[in-house]
């Protein structure tokens, strides 16, 4: 088998990436603009011995992939904003029971039904903070069709390594865009660590991640969304057990935020530095291409946990310019990690930023003094 070159749209590339990563169960519900992922999975999964099911709603889709994950399969669902809101309940369940799942969110304009066929990045904070309680997650953001494929594979590996839900936070532009793509014949698969004989089902190893007690393997585990002790049994009245559990589950991801960081750093000596992820990265790259060696660029492929140390690479930075297709959600996170002035370039409505708009932000950034400045396009 050799690598294959194809011309696919982002959603189909995502489905192909999932299949390459060994995903064998997909439960979904139709929603624009993510539906092509489900359609491709429905077509392809039965051919590789997997199962596709269209559930009655997104609540059930998220539930079914958690159930499928406990049965031992790599599982995935795909949705967009409104469905993502419905999934929040079971995303919280998956974080607390440490269930590896992958959720693709092809973002569209919100709030509510919003703009079903237009791109946005408005769910970036929701994916991090949307479910109740304290927890941490991993979110990836592709900016090309090839990255849709590669990051989907990576999402499965991260989910299994950290035993956590992993989000592929893409958007309508990337999902519906067709590009040349290389489908690898062989991708790296890092399987989840199975529970060892005599090991307690919720006792962490040295990385803070417990072994996975796959159902039907004789582990006889009890998995609950209640606060549980290391045996997995409910222990809801103990402040100590609850705090230890929540802190461990947050730390098992946050402690590795810089180790798993996946960023592109361009022109680290520049004074004006763009920070972007997803579709706006494409405009920034165009600008950098037109004006070589002028601006710095930090492209985030893993947005959550936020790779804070990568900001330090820009030693001469005078301002960070952050174009986002929302009202500055990740800019808020950047602000928490730096004192360098931030220029937020929000754009709503579904169209990408143009290089001219970014140049307008550059003019603002040249003289910026305030900690946070918003550019009105």
């Amino acid at each position: 088998m050799t690598d294959k070159t194809d011309f696919l749209n982002g959603n189909v590339a995502c489905a192909e990436g999932a299949l390459a990563a060994g995903c064998r169960f997909f439960a979904g519900y139709p929603i624009t603009p993510s539906t092509e992922v489900a359609e491709r999975m429905a077509l392809r999964l039965p051919k590789v011995g997997g199962v596709f099911i269209q559930m009655e709603d997104e609540l059930a889709s998220a539930a079914a992939i958690i159930g499928g994950s406990w049965a031992g399969a790599r599982t995935m669902t795909a949705t967009s904003g409104p469905g993502f809101s419905l999934m929040m309940e079971n995303i919280g369940y998956a974080t607390f029971t440490e269930t590896p799942i992958v959720i693709v969110n092809v973002q569209r304009g919100g709030p509510s039904t919003g703009q079903p066929t237009m791109a946005a990045q408005g769910d970036m904070l929701q994916c991090r903070y949307g479910s109740h309680g304290d927890y941490s997650v991993i979110a990836l953001s592709p900016s090309s069709v090839q990255e849709m494929y590669d990051l989907t594979v990576k999402a499965f590996n991260l989910a299994d390594r950290f035993r956590t839900p992993v989000f592929l936070m893409t958007d309508e532009t990337i999902g519906h865009m067709r590009e040349k793509i290389t489908l690898h014949s062989n991708v790296e698969i890092i399987p989840r660590r199975e529970l060892k004989e005599g090991e307690l089902p919720c006792a962490p190893d040295e990385n803070g991640v417990p072994g996975f007690g796959t159902f039907g393997m004789g582990h006889n585990v009890h998995i609950t969304g209640l606060t549980h002790n290391e045996k997995g049994y409910p222990a809801t009245d103990s402040a100590e057990i609850h705090e230890k559990l929540v802190r461990r589950q947050v730390r098992k991801i946050e402690d590795f935020r810089n180790e798993i960081a996946d960023v592109d750093i361009v022109n680290p000596d520049a004074e004006l530095v763009f920070i972007s992820y997803g579709a706006p990265t494409r405009t920034v790259r165009q600008l950098l291409n037109d004006n070589p060696d002028t601006y710095g660029h930090l492209n985030l492929r893993i947005v959550w946990p936020f790779p804070d140390e990568s900001l330090l690479a820009f030693k001469n930075a005078k301002a960070f310019i952050i174009p986002e297709m929302n009202l500055g959600q990740i800019a808020k996170e950047v602000r928490q990690h730096t004192n360098i002035p931030i220029v937020v370039v929000p754009k709503l409505g579904g169209a990408l930023h143009t290089p001219a708009e970014l140049l307008k932000a550059v003019e603002v950034a040249k003289t910026v003094k305030k900690p946070v400045t918003e550019v009105r396009l």
């Binding site: 439960a27 539930a63 958690i66 159930g67 406990w70 309940e89 609950t224």
Partner: protein, 264 residues
Amino acid sequence: MNLEDWYRQDRLPHIYCAGCGNGTILNCTLRAVEELDYKKEETTFISGIGCSSRAAGYTSSDSLHTTHGRALAFATGLKLVKPRQHVIVFTGDGDCSAIGGNHFIHACRRNIDITVICMNNNIYGMTGGQGSPCTPYGAISTTTPYGMQEQPFDLCKVAEAAGANYVARWTSFHVKELTEAIRVGLETPGLSFIEVMTQCPTSFGSKNKMRQVTQMLDMFRDNAVLKAKADRDAAKGILPSPEKFVVGQFVRRNNPPLGVEAAK
């Protein structure tokens, strides 16, 4: 394996109130599982949220205690990935018919090969006795202090209409019949739905003139009408009195199930 091996010994005694029927239903379920000689590693118990759903935690095989109302969706995913597993879902009336109503009818429609045991205690027990979609007309609960003004669900009719392959109703008083019904349900491919009328002496009986557990058992014994008798009465044109309910097997059919191994 004997019956006692199916209980998670280090978790007993359980959290149920004195006289709660859920423990009885757990006995009957595990007895049926033991009679069928299921292996522990091939049996999975899944439950949602509520008193009923704590039952999964007292079984010694793999068990998944999930979110409110979603147990059937979790079970669907698990069963499709591992068709060899015998999947048994414990749910309650509120869990199954209110928050999980949509998942319930769709699981029945898909006819996925799982066994659903619904412990219908007429109220939300875990939160302190609020009215549920199965609270009888006129019954008192903490959210219906002047009597329930809505009509209750007939869950068996819902399951039958939605396409379940096996539907039966018994009570926590009829332990032998219930055990047999669960056994038949486990053996029937496709979705088997067994509704069990059970007593909540703490939150339902105490507000509805049945302060003693034994009074509630008497009520089940006196008000349960066998299906054959109900059918005969209906043929004669005798109207059923409102406090009575029908018990027995309502449907057993062989519609194509989902989630059964291809080899079968």
